[in-house]
């Protein structure tokens, strides 16, 4: 119990504004363990940045309990500063101080009163990690967005904090560089015992890097299984839209979407029936055929079947209906679900553009 790094209970945050505060975040419970990599996933405005800000102690929860290292970080002024030194936030559009790259990286190190040679060493080390060796003397104002993001990351890494909070860490980087930064993040966690909490739009990135994923939507946690996760370019006919994860196989959902979407289908919303023999021209939206390759019970009453065919899908249904519907292992089944059952969990403008 006491080994949790963060413990949040019924935490809410409202953004002060006029004429009245606007709601940003409400979490019932969240526990972050030391050394883990946690991803925050959700669309814009979901509250990811707000949560990172709270975890970085740059804003205070309006209500609820926030515990860090077993204590209340907001108890007094000194505690807050001490807490902030352990949890460093790198924002989506980081701000670099006027002066050189070195001056920026050395800033936090000087605050911690490290000796000059140590500062020099850590600076070089950090720049090396983000692949900016030799850039020490550069004026920070002359960096591109991607370089600035890496310097900001180096600035945080040099401090070797307990927690690294990253808001869209690879957003400004091209694909290749992004992959290398991901590799870096993967190493830091277990390597230095640093806890990493990062936010992203990108499901795959979250899956690749994180031990655990927290989904947020409209300021609240939502439970998604990452079962039945599909993404692709959406097309629309003006009333409904679809993606085509496999040629000829479409997942149709309600509403008009364009660009790149990621969606999930709740297993409980998929209807399973035994397929009549022979290839089926069932047609219709969201009808898929496949073979049951796995069956397991998640609790006494519910069975989860994995079906491989056109797509790999998982469906959940009450145990007692397995027999009634003729669903059995290795049997052929038809899977059906409504467009409304498809939940969009990620969306990006058409390929090439950065998220807003």
């Amino acid at each position: 119990m006491s080994d949790a790094l963060y413990r949040l209970e019924s935490v809410a945050y409202r953004h002060a504004g006029r004429p009245e505060p606007s709601f940003r975040l409400a979490l019932d419970a969240l526990t972050v363990r030391p050394g883990e990599v946690l991803a925050l996933v959700g669309p814009n405005g979901a509250g990811k940045t707000t949560l990172l800000t709270l975890l970085g102690f740059l804003a205070r929860p309006a209500s609820g309990r926030l515990e860090f290292l077993g204590g209340d970080p907001w108890a007094d002024g000194e505690r807050v500063v001490a807490a902030r030194r352990e949890a460093v936030l790198v924002t989506h559009h980081p701000y670099l101080f006027k002066g050189s790259v070195t001056a920026n990286i050395a800033f936090g190190l000087r605050l911690r009163k490290l000796p000059d040679d140590e500062i020099g060493r850590r600076t070089r080390e950090a720049l090396s990690l983000v692949e900016l060796d030799g850039w020490d003397g550069r004026p920070a104002a002359r960096l591109s967005a991607g370089q600035a993001q890496r310097v900001a990351l180096a600035r945080a890494l040099a401090l070797r904090p307990k927690v690294l909070l990253l808001d869209e860490p690879t957003a400004n980087l091209d694909a290749a560089l992004g992959m290398r930064m991901e590799a870096l993040l993967r190493e830091i966690g277990p390597g230095q015992g640093t806890t990493v909490v990062f936010s992203t739009h990108n499901f795959s990135q979250a899956s690749r890097l994180a031990d655990d994923i927290l989904y947020l939507s409209d300021g609240r946690r939502v439970e998604f299984s990452h079962e039945n996760l599909f993404s692709g370019r959406a097309e629309t006919d003006g009333k409904k839209s679809w993606i085509e994860p496999r040629p000829g196989r479409r997942i149709v959902f309600a509403g008009v979407r364009r660009g790149h979407v990621t969606c999930v289908i709740d297993p409980a919303a998929i209807r399973v029936t035994a397929a009549a023999g022979g290839p089926d021209a069932a047609g219709g939206a969201n009808v898929f055929r496949g073979r049951v390759t796995r069956m397991e019970t998640t609790d006494a009453a519910t069975a989860l079947v994995r079906v491989s065919g056109d797509l790999v899908l998982r469906a959940a249904l009450p145990v007692r209906e397995l027999e009634a519907r003729g669903v059995s292992l290795s049997g052929e089944v038809l899977l059906r679900f409504e467009p409304e059952a498809v939940e969009i969990v990620g969306e990006r403008p058409a390929d090439g553009a950065k998220p807003a």
Binding site: G56, L58, G77, Y95, F97, K98, L111, P139, A141
Partner: protein
Amino acid sequence: MILRELALAVWISLKTSGLAALVASALAVPAALFLAGREFRGKRLILVINQTWMAAPTVVIGLLFYSLLSRSGPLGRFGLLYTQTAMTVGQVFLILPLIVGFSYTALRQVDRRARPTALTLGATPAQASRVVLREARFALLVAVLAGFARAVSEVGIAMMLGGNIRNVTRNITTSIALETAKGEFRNGVVLGVVLLVITLGINILVQAGFRGRDSD
């Protein structure tokens, strides 16, 4: 006018107005930092009042402080009238709104993200404020220098509160007034040139400082 007197007059100008600039800055910059950092009811009113007092005529300020500092006035027991201290006090009051105004603008132009960035890297609130001040340092220097230039060029306050006493409260501007009234134009011109060199020189320094750092 002998060289010693002239040199003393220049020194008195630099000393009294320089001190006024320092004291006024010490008050104005924290005030501007406070104003720039937050929104609150009445802030707009304060800014408007500040803007208004920037336009106060020097003779009016001189008159005000004359009444306050005179022996027959409420602060009379300090016996400050006709001293360098009185000149400095009056000039502090003159340039305070000016430095507040310029500093406020300078600080507002600092990126909003600067402070939270400093905080997350482990700065205390005071250290973060220092970072903000440092990010605005050139514009703040301009504010202070503008205040100094205003103080060193004015004559109403120096005359009324200083009394133009030779080698004590006679500074460049009051000397020019006196020498002109005496018909000693040569002396007046020399002093005028010195004053111009000071104020224009400050201006050049400031502009050069900017250009050198524009590429920051």
